[in-house]
Point group: D3
Chain length 194, copies 6
């Protein structure tokens, strides 16, 4: 509860540059709270801006990967990197996009046992390998994705998301970024029927 | 020579958005050539912009770390990640900043044997550990850096650069980014005295 | 939903030896459902009986470790062993014993970042090391636990639970044991106040 | 000689529950001495009973694996887990069952170089992988065993023995279980011809 | 019995250069048989000569390490390198030098559990680390040996033997060098009293 | 500059046995300087003689491997062993033999990205595997080399060079062998045309 959300000072909303504050208010508007990744990274405004620009460039673009598939990559690679913030926060987003309350726990713990398609399995095999042993990637790994039906642009998406969360996981470990309480339950329970 | 510099198409300079082309021409003006990281990542303009904004935010800011020290982090972590592009390109930059033709090879192969100060050794021990086993970072690792004289902001710089090149190394492995020929020799030979 | 819960045949309740069926009905009575570890391991009645006798001997005995602490060991070591069944099922039990809806996700992903006491941190450091690199255990590891206030009998409990779930995790991986749907949400939401 | 056989107290035979004492006397009758695994684990009678019940369920049942093959699994997996007690004690049993004085040393050090059949080689490849990296097991590993002629029940035996000795190895490391002197030579020299 | 002792042709004694044949006959005279390392490496006479010159330079010189201690290094490092030939052959020699029928099995499987002195434990900790992760050696590792009473020349001996058997283990793996049957039992049974 | 080239005393040239001094003067004559491996290993004349006899037996013999290919093996395996001396010194020799100023950096950092033939790629895959995980070598690894066109004698060369530099890398790590300044630039710049 009273646990710090970062090893570093967390700026007051009022003290932030307007563009950063606005971005936070937008996400608060949509999600009902401000995810701690915004609050904690705002300690360095320039890095904040680049971080979210990169994130959005990968996660919001048109792609052969669905939004749920992109979050699967985040959750699986953050799982093998043992990154609490990303597993909990992106696990919540994955549950919502996939409309599946179990998928995030499955993918975070062992993507090989998850309820996913063979295509998604190939995607996560590639991502997890790139996340942990980047030098081991060879042409055969790319071919396996092409054989599973991915285009070369899809492969860039898979690798790019993995690369971006390699950065993100390390920042979270560096500053001991703490997930918001809200994420733990999101997408696990159906909203009451109207 | 005729080797491709990326698995992906490399855009023509003329076909690029103006801001990206301008950035390339600036660097060409300064360095005498366009490093392949610019040419190859330009395949995705939005990611390109975020990538270099992030890079510049970390590498150009005021810091308790010298520019040579920041490049040491890049070279050491890219070494343990076996990233050819980053070792060769940033090795060149490190040689120039450090005015030392041997330091890059030393740091890339084994930072424990390099001609660096104990403070720099502590910095690279931290960076290399975060690069390869991010989950293993504990409070004692931060304390070791404080004991070596680094401030908490310096530690963010060390961790942030490591995190950014975790991304960068994976992008280079993903697309098989090839270093420009020019980098191999830069900073190894003294310019002729005038 | 219609996913198999084991690679192996799952016996009908009626076809089981009476003692095994009784044990299942008891747990069903208490929990409201039969955890799949009972149903799937019943394929081999003798191993079933030994498995649960061992489990109960460790998990139900008087101990210097609380029941929540014992489940923490299960969840942390199953996390590093990437065992979906044990993380999900024992995560649920941990949440309930600890009356803490977040603790299981924290301990499963990265016990170093979990909201636990220094004593519990020492306990999980020992358990995780024994789980993954058993040959690395040396006298200093035992001493660290004694320094944290554990008795030698407590250390047997910590090691014994780790050892038992080394077995359990491997059985779950072997047969692709699937967690019951019920576990995912247990202990995450407060029961309605009466 | 005067070396302790456990970090923990070893109970007097007379102080033990009758069923445990009886089991020890039986094994003494048969083997000529009481293996230290009995004496040391008797410190916790309930765990002792479950341990040997589990052991016997796997090692004494009817199986598509010969008794020598089952001991091979014990020795190979205990070898990669660097468990002295199990390598020495079960190495002795393997030599006797296989009537081969060299097989245990071969399997303990490097099963890939041992004088075993291709079928046994496949069995030990599976076991050693499950022993050290349980999360890496995939359907292809099961298929490789089926291709080598093993039934699904045989595979359960292979995996179950590996899992049980994952527990056993960790208990031996935990308590520093010392092999009896007798084991070192058993099965290495032919008994005098009658 | 009829198993090949190398993947490569084994030369006839008569076909060998005189110096190599003489060396073999000398060892046969002393040991009663020709160890397979002589027979198999003789396939390349120049490498054979250098190999045994190096071996003898390290293993026969005056040293602060006893002959038994030097064989302990061979057995411990060959154990972590899973080298069957060296564990079996040098295990035999170690048993004889140490006049201890158990020491070789202990050191090969887990030197941390072996009946050795703290000084020998420090020596094997250093050797095993150098054998498997040579880049990890730092000044503190040397200091630990000095603290245990070793001179710098002793440390060269420890490191040199480890280095030489890093070569030897790899040659044995490369050619599938098979231990002579005789080694398995040597030093395990006392010779009949005269 | 004034950095020590070894943790151990470096003998004066005049104090050395004649054969060793002669060998040094010969290499100085040819190379223009005495590589530090000669000066530092001369601390132990017998080991020195065996070391260079072994080196020459492998590196100077008639072989199906070109001299450049042999140096590639040295550089690639020394790269994964993080051996500064061997990467820098043999990198220089490789550049000269291959008449390629980039090849050494490529092979040292990541042989999978180097400008080499498929045959050379297979050769280095084998060497790097043998260098780091010698027990993992199986018949399929030999077959892959035969499929790439190597004879069994070539495979001995590949394995033998890898084995010898496993020794060499560990000696360099042990004594902190420092590369001569001259090596860093050798083969990087074309000599002036005559």
């Amino acid at each position: 509860m009273a646990q710090p959300i970062s090893r570093y000072p967390v700026p007051e909303l009022n003290a932030l540059p307007a563009d950063i504050r606005d971005k936070m208010l937008q996400v608060q508007d949509k999600a009902g709270f401000i995810p701690n990744v915004f609050l904690t990274l705002a300690h360095r405004p320039d890095e904040f801006r680049a971080f979210f620009a990169y994130h959005d460039a990968l996660m919001l673009r048109e792609s052969g990967l669905s939004k749920a598939e992109r979050e699967m990559i985040v959750v699986a690679t953050s799982g093998v990197n043992h990154c609490l913030y990303c597993v909990v926060a992106h696990g919540a987003i994955l549950r919502i996009y996939a409309k599946n309350p179990q998928i995030a726990d499955q993918v975070a713990v062992d993507h090989r046992k998850a309820d996913i398609t063979p295509r998604q399995r190939a995607m996560l095999d590639f991502a997890v390998k790139l996340a942990r042993i980047p030098e081991s990637m060879i042409e055969a790994d790319h071919q396996a994705l092409r054989d599973a039906g991915f285009s070369d642009e899809d492969i860039w998406d898979i690798g790019g998301i993995t690369a971006f969360f390699a950065l993100s996981n390390r920042m979270a470990h560096l500053i001991s970024m703490r997930p918001n309480d809200e994420f733990y339950l999101m997408g696990r329970v159906s909203p009451p029927k109207k």
